[in-house]
């Protein structure tokens, strides 16, 4: 399945909860950070440690247009996070759906 988180992890606990559930799932589940959720992938964010494991497994994606809008350069992200555009978002749902939005 494809999980999306759209809130900043410094403002809400949605990313925390999503990660706890994702860990218990098979390697076929993926996480895409969108909207204010993209701040979670900042190497400097408190969420970096937990997310790094996921990124190293190739299971973490970040929506590029939302990064650009927020002035977050790819170099500021944790290593291994893959940046995708909206077509990449669609493809993730094709490949890994159903979609679970951690709204």
């Amino acid at each position: 399945m494809l999980h999306t988180v759209n809130k900043s992890p410094l403002q809400t606990r949605d990313l925390d909860s999503c990660l706890l559930h994702l860990e218990a799932q098979s390697a076929e589940s993926r996480l895409l950070l969108i909207e204010d959720g993209v701040y979670g992938a900042l190497a400097a964010a408190p969420s970096a440690t937990t997310l790094s494991d996921l990124a190293n497994q190739g299971r973490l994606y970040v929506l590029g247009p939302d990064l650009s809008a927020r002035g977050v350069a790819p170099e500021a992200l944790i290593a291994g996070a893959e940046i995708v555009d909206y077509e990449g978002f669609v493809q993730l749902i094709v490949d890994y759906g159903p979609h679970q939005a951690w709204v």
């Binding site: 399945m1 909860s17 706890l20 994702l22 799932q25 589940s29 159903p98 979609h99 679970q100 709204v103």
Partner: protein, 130 residues
């Protein structure tokens, strides 16, 4: 799953999960989620409800929304059984973080741990998150 949008599609049985993660009353999410659940009963799908994080608070006993002039919809969860919607999963860790147990809830539910909740989610065809 069908790649074509054909008339047979309506006869497919899918596993539908309604995921509830928000507290009631502060926003309308809990109430309007319940309205979709009730409608879904008419479609003969395999429907389940998941309550986790602040969503478990939706089922808390003793709610009196009339105190803030709102609709008291908590009793409606008890009506779900009459619609043959009987799979209500509540996450144990979420209850515990709020000092609650199954005894504090308005309906009988199946309390599951987080790992089981995660597994249930990944077995669905359609997830509606509220």
């Amino acid at each position: 799953m069908n790649d074509e949008f054909d008339e047979d599609a309506a006869s497919t049985i899918k596993r539908f999960m309604f995921v509830n993660r928000k507290a009631p009353h502060g926003t309308i999410y809990a109430l309007e989620a319940l309205e979709v659940v009730l409608i879904s009963a008419a479609f003969d799908q395999d429907v389940s409800l998941a309550f986790l994080d602040d969503g478990v608070l939706q089922l808390r006993k003793g709610q009196d929304a009339k105190a803030i002039e709102m609709k008291n919809f908590a009793p409606t969860y008890r009506a779900l059984e009459g619609y043959d919607i009987e799979k209500l999963y509540v996450e144990r860790e979420s209850l515990e973080a709020r000092g609650m147990t199954a005894d504090d809830l308005v309906v009988p539910v199946e309390v599951v741990d987080r790992a089981r909740m995660s597994a249930l989610m990944s077995e669905q065809d359609v997830i509606m998150s509220f």
